[in-house]
């Protein structure tokens, strides 16, 4: 569904050129949940911004369903660590931003959003402003907004990074529910090893800056996953070892 080949990107920091991405190749198949795991600041967000079409790569190509979409926008839904809710809109009005900007049928969008609010345990909070909601609730509203864009491919940039462990595991459940029921394809960025293993079909481990793919790990376990299960622990150790190796090199 999504294929990146040879993505390179450099930026200027303090007037000096700095290579962020050094020839990155990766593939996300239809209906797959793929995680990008890498140390903080290794350029994961830059990569998602490139896929979303917000910034241009210096070189390399992006294919979406076989069509080249380098520096095009509108083929993905993007959810970030910051919930990015508009403070002047109620939760429900925030959720339907995508359909509203597209000029779609607002009545239907509202109806759909109400269903999702109910399902995500946000019933009764439709008319609350973001300032009245907890971090976990705001992130759920952001997830509903992402879902209502109607895109097949989700880019998620550490969406649960600022939440506490309990809230985070609740949101993992919601996310996996959405992923399976609505047949979405997800490219998920995280620096949390366990989160990557709990959620994804495949994990790309990136090197420290400049980022390249260091390893690709398959996670052939059924969901929901149990972090105490021997197979899970074995994969975690394997991944841990690779991460440590990378930290020593860097």
């Amino acid at each position: 569904m999504l294929r990146l080949s040879g993505i390179e990107k450099g930026i200027l920091r303090n007037g000096l050129p700095l290579k962020v991405l050094a020839g990155l190749d990766l593939e996300v198949g239809e209906g797959e949940f793929v995680s990008l795991l890498g140390p903080s600041g290794c350029g994961k967000t830059t990569l998602l911004n490139i896929v979303a079409g917000l910034i241009r790569p210096d070189s390399g190509r992006i294919f979406f369903n076989g069509r080249e979409v380098s520096s095009c926008r509108g083929h993905v839904a993007y959810m970030q660590q910051d919930d990015l809710l508009l403070p002047w809109r109620t939760a429900l009005e925030n959720a339907i931003l995508g359909p509203e900007l597209k000029g779609a049928d607002l009545h239907r969008a509202r109806h759909e959003a109400e269903g999702l609010f109910h399902r995500f345990g946000l019933e009764g909070f439709e008319d609350h402003y973001p300032a009245e909601l907890s971090g976990g609730m705001r992130q759920r509203v952001a997830l509903i907004r992402t879902l209502l864009t109607g895109k097949r491919l989700f880019l998620l940039d550490e969406p649960f990074g600022s939440l506490d462990a309990m809230t985070r595991s609740v949101l993992h459940r919601y996310l996996l529910g959405v992923f399976e029921e609505f047949e979405k394809t997800i490219l998920f960025v995280t620096h949390d090893l366990e989160e990557a293993l709990l959620l994804s079909d495949r994990v790309y481990l990136l090197t420290a800056r400049p980022a390249r793919v260091k390893a690709l790990l398959e996670v052939p376990l059924p969901r929901p996953r149990d972090r105490g299960e021997p197979r899970f622990i074995r994969l975690e150790r394997e991944l841990e070892r690779l991460v440590q190796e990378e930290l020593h090199v860097a």
């Binding site: 079409g53 917000l54 926008r73 839904a77 508009l86 900007l101 402003y129």
Partner: protein
């Protein structure tokens, strides 16, 4: 919604105490042409209420027209500055520079050009608030979160949508707080215009009363001005509360 007794009783008490003190001093001094007693001022306000009201309405009209003109042109200029880097580089430094020219200094010129009637006062009132309003609005438009702009870009928002659904709602609190400051400044501007040359308005009445040694009427006009200013400020605050319901939540 309404302030609690705990909030408004202390300032009200202090105000009454100050008036009491003033009254005592005025009675002791017995100089009604320099410092009339509050009681004398209130009597004058009651006996000449129609005169005061008539002039107050003139000043109010100047202030409201000035506000409306400054608001429309200020918003337009702010949008131009926000949308074009070239215009920004050309206009913005001038805006800041012109802001530092005292309106007092140009009021006589405006009266010379626009005459003794309504328009010169409207122009002074509009000028005095125009630049703070532009600067506030530009600041508001510019301070939109980068992440929100990216969100709208990923959702393929048009330029118009970006402006109407993101930048303007974001800037609205800045615009309204600009109006709040502006409305009291506009009263000052209108009165300056009336002092320089006019045939009606509270400023005109003050100059007249002063010349005829009707100092109690002069003070009565000042009280009216203060009341007008406070009322307008309250009105803009009420508009602000109604327009920004989301700002009240989360503050308890």
């Amino acid at each position: 919604m309404w302030p609690k007794a705990r909030d408004y009783l202390p300032p009200l008490g202090l105000l009454l105490a100050l008036f009491g003190l003033w009254e005592l001093v005025a009675w002791r001094l017995e100089l009604p042409f320099i410092l009339p007693a509050p009681s004398a001022i209130f009597i004058r306000m009651a006996s000449d209420w129609l005169l005061l009201l008539r002039h107050a309405l003139v000043t109010l009209e100047e202030v409201l027209l000035g506000l409306a003109i400054a608001f429309i042109f200020g918003l337009a200029l702010a949008l131009l500055i926000f949308h074009s880097k070239t215009l920004e580089r050309a206009i913005y430094p001038l805006v800041i520079a012109v802001q530092n020219v005292p309106v007092f200094a140009i009021a006589p010129i405006l009266v010379l050009w626009l005459g003794y009637g309504l328009f010169s006062k409207v122009a002074v009132a509009a000028l005095i608030i125009f630049f703070p309003l532009v600067v506030n609005t530009v600041d508001g438009l510019r301070s939109t979160d980068r992440g929100l702009v990216d969100l709208f870009r990923v959702l393929e928002a048009s330029r118009g949508q970006l402006l109407l659904k993101l930048h303007l709602p974001h800037a609205l609190p800045f615009i309204l707080s600009g109006c709040k400051v502006g409305v009291t400044l506009a009263v000052v501007g209108a009165v300056i215009g009336e002092w320089v040359g006019s045939n009606a308005g509270l400023g005109f009445l003050m100059v007249q009363a002063n010349a005829r040694l009707k100092i109690d009427l002069l003070f009565a006009a000042i009280f009216w001005l203060a009341a007008l200013s406070i009322a307008l400020f309250g009105l803009v605050s009420a508009i602000e509360r109604a327009a920004l319901p989301w700002r009240r939540v989360g503050q308890g």
